[in-house]
């Protein structure tokens, strides 16, 4: 039992801090909080800075431009990154499709896609969920029929985050309807510029555009864009789900959010006393902070036990459930701290003209945060998985 950092690890932490101090600038932070194109450009700029440093793709094979960090180094980087307020990379390319490509794709596909993902030249989105297939992913109906060297894809995907920016989408499509539901699914990489693709905005409760519906109307996709074998897509996708669940836990980001909340609480006065002195609010803070202190070690235990790189298995359900519960508890505290201002929509006004710094953002975060317990396999499904595969019920 030992968590103390070695001299090398401490040195690495200093290196990370130095990098962040130099590259994560006020200006970049401001632009990345912006909307649409401003956000997209800033996000790409940030990812390129990480790539120039060689830190963009931990976990990737080194020969493809990845960086082989130990569990501790990864922990150090994530902690420092989020304490500095720097965002995670957009996961769809770097964390979701890339592992499938270098894990199950052919050399042609690796050569073609991985470098462009590293350089953030392609923006990816994820085509899994469908109107009738949410947590029950295997119920998907989007069809791909072989026609010469192409598949003809018809159907629709929903809840597709950032599809409005995307150059490519990776999709699970049905290539065979006979047999088990998990069989007959193939994994396709689809160019968003292909004729027949329509992206419909879904206005969501956070009054912010991130979700979309992607409709496929006789879209031609070269067979060369299929990962691995036809009808075996489910096995490739499954490997990803655990990864996704683990990253949804976002432990390090919750630590930063709690730290910032604590500061705001010390500045907000109620009845002449800072709200941070209020025992009731202190208890809500510590209820969450203690869960988070534990979850941080749960994550480390999971990662340490899977340091072979295979990535976590079913334990990741626990991380996803607890991590998202903690995120929502924190979002709730920001809302309650904002009081009347938790309802504010800026519209044509600004934080300055309305006179409250974070109410608008707290509401956005709270409303968008409702999704965390639903996507990536709803927390209910995570409990089913845990009951079956961990507890053997």
């Amino acid at each position: 039992m030992d968590i103390t950092f070695s001299a090398e690890e401490s040195a690495f932490r200093d290196q990370v801090r130095e990098f962040l101090a130099e590259n994560w600038t006020e200006d970049l932070a401001r632009r990345i909080r912006g909307e649409d194109e401003e956000f997209k450009a800033a996000q790409i700029e940030w990812q390129n800075k990480l790539n120039d440093k060689g830190w963009l793709a931990p976990g990737w094979p080194v020969e493809h431009g990845g960086v082989a960090w130990s569990v501790t180094e990864n922990f150090i980087f994530e902690t420092e990154r989020s304490l500095a307020g720097a965002p995670d990379v957009v996961p769809f390319g770097l964390k979701m499709v890339a592992p499938v490509i270098y894990g199950f794709g052919n050399d042609e596909q690796k050569k073609r896609f991985l470098p462009r993902i590293l350089k953030s030249q392609d923006w990816w989105c994820q085509g899994y969920s469908e109107p009738g297939a949410g947590s029950d992913l295997a119920a998907l109906k989007t069809k791909a029929e072989l026609d010469g060297d192409d598949y003809i894809v018809n159907g629709a995907k929903v809840w597709t985050t950032y599809a409005q920016y995307a150059d490519w989408i990776f999709c699970l499509v049905r290539t065979d309807s006979s047999g088990k539901r998990q069989d007959g699914i193939s994994f396709l990489l689809i160019d968003m510029k292909s004729p027949g693709i329509t992206v419909n905005k879904i206005s969501s409760i956070d009054d912010h555009h991130s979700l979309n519906e992607v409709v496929f109307d006789n879209v031609r996709v070269p067979v060369a864009n299929r990962i691995g074998e036809q009808d075996k897509g489910w096995t490739y996708a499954k490997a990803l789900l655990a990864h996704e669940r683990t990253s949804i836990a976002a432990v390090a980001d919750s630590k930063r959010r709690l730290r910032d909340l604590r500061k705001l609480l010390s500045e907000e006065i109620s009845g002449g006393r800072p709200l941070l002195d209020d025992v009731q609010f202190q208890n809500r803070l510590s209820n969450t902070e203690i869960e988070l202190m534990a979850l941080e070690y749960t994550e480390l235990r999971v990662l340490a036990s899977t340091a072979d790189g295979k990535g976590p298995g079913v334990e990741s359900s626990l991380l996803k459930i607890k991590g998202t519960e903690i995120q929502q508890a924190i979002q709730q505290m920001y809302m309650d701290l904002a009081g009347y201002y938790s309802g504010v929509l800026h519209g044509d006004e600004t934080a300055e003209s309305i006179g409250h710094a974070f109410g608008h953002d707290a509401r956005k975060a709270y409303m968008y945060g409702r999704a965390a317990t639903i996507y990536g396999g709803s927390n209910e499904v995570q409990k089913n998985i845990t009951a079956k595969y961990v507890l053997g019920l």
Binding site: S203, I205, S270, G272, G339, Y340, G343, G347, M367, A371
Partner: protein
């Protein structure tokens, strides 16, 4: 002992329910809220014609002379329809302050206009620093001959954008958080020195910050007594709290029914998700939360009707439970609707947002619980 509405009250309730049913489907509601006023003025005239705007006022002023039960009956149905018209701001808050005051001239001048729908009012009590403390008032009112001169800023004023008249709480004596020394002034919304910044809240209502720079108010425009405004504020906030909780009650019932219906139709893993026992038990929790909230609402209304001496404790308890159970029901309603619950086109999210704003108004559950503790356990 009975928990039934009178025949008259049932008719009132039904008329609101029918209006919501016929005139207030969700898309219409959306466009009503989108109106630059923050509501649909035609509906307001309908309210006047149906006599709803007269409910809480004394017969002497042409009112219906209704009590807490009548208001509850109306608000519960308005909640089910997510009605955005400012019944609370104009009739219950603005009108409530006037009718609880003993200033006959002001009553004569305004209550009639409220009832006929020609006057929109607002009550400006929040300040940037005040959070939920009604007595935390920095806005200053200085005597100057027969006038008072007001300076300061009130924020998040409900119906502040559409109001023709605004009642403002300002300090005429005492320290920032003293209950004594607060005076209520009736001002014209477009009086010289009044500057409004309006914006929307997530529940669709249009509110305003009201900046006051050397605003002159005649002494006869004081609502209630000079330095003694807090008494009025406290009384009206009690009434309005019950009304808002009745609205929340209607919303919770709506969310529970909607959620149950949705789970019966939504198929996952080849069956309706309503067949999953884990979800069933959670919907039972939602149901119980709704029933308990209804019970404590009835309790508070009975206490208000009989003027019970533990009324304040009952109201604090009511606000706590509406806040907590409302959160449970709102969270679960979205969660059980899955991705659909995250969309703006579905009404679920909008009901939840209104519940959240009701929780915040006059102090959230935590704040009200500490108030309850003081009332119940202070030695």
């Amino acid at each position: 002992m009975n928990f039934n509405l009178s025949e008259e009250q049932n008719m009132l309730k039904d008329s609101v329910a029918r209006f919501v049913q016929d005139e207030y489907d969700f898309e219409t509601r959306r466009s009503n809220a989108a109106n630059p006023l923050g509501f649909n003025p035609d509906n307001w005239q309908t309210f006047a014609e149906l006599g709803w705007l007269s409910i809480p006022f004394e017969e002497a002023y042409g009112g219906f002379g209704g009590g807490p039960t009548d208001v509850m009956a109306v608000m519960e149905e308005m909640g089910k329809g997510l009605v955005v018209e400012p019944f609370v701001a104009t009739v219950l808050m603005f009108g409530g302050l006037l009718s609880k005051s003993d200033n006959a001239a002001l009553k004569d001048a305004h209550i009639e206009k409220i009832i006929d729908g020609s006057l929109q009012g607002a009550f400006a009590y929040v300040e940037r620093q005040s959070r939920f403390e009604l007595a935390d008032v920095k806005t200053q009112a200085k005597r100057d001959g027969d006038d008072f001169v007001l300076n300061g800023e009130k924020t998040v004023v409900f119906n502040g954008a559409a109001a023709n008249k605004v009642i403002v709480s300002a300090r005429t004596s005492g320290k920032q958080c003293d209950e004594a020394g607060i005076t209520l002034f009736l001002i014209d919304a477009d009086a010289p020195g009044v500057q409004r910044t309006s914006y929307r809240l997530m529940d669709g209502q249009l509110v305003a910050n009201i900046k006051l720079t050397d605003v002159r108010v005649a002494a006869n425009q004081v609502v209630g007594e000079v330095d003694d405004g807090y008494k009025l504020i406290d009384a009206v906030v009690s009434d309005v709290t019950i009304a808002l909780c009745a609205e929340a009650m209607g919303i919770m019932q709506k969310l529970n029914t909607t959620t149950i219906e949705y789970t019966k139709t939504r198929q996952q893993f080849g069956v309706a998700i309503s067949s999953f026992q884990a979800l069933q038990h959670r919907m039972v929790d939602m149901f119980m939360a709704g029933e308990q909230a209804k019970s404590i609402l009835y309790r508070a209304v009975c206490a208000a009707e009989s003027g019970a001496d533990d009324l304040a404790k009952n109201i604090a308890a009511l606000k706590v439970m509406i806040g907590r159970n409302g959160k449970l029901i709102g969270d679960e309603a979205i969660q059980l609707h899955g991705g659909m619950g995250l969309t703006d086109e579905l009404d679920v999210g909008h009901y939840v947002k209104r519940l959240m704003m009701i929780n915040t108004t006059f102090g959230d559950a935590d704040y009200q619980q500490q108030k309850f503790n003081r009332l119940a356990y202070a030695e």
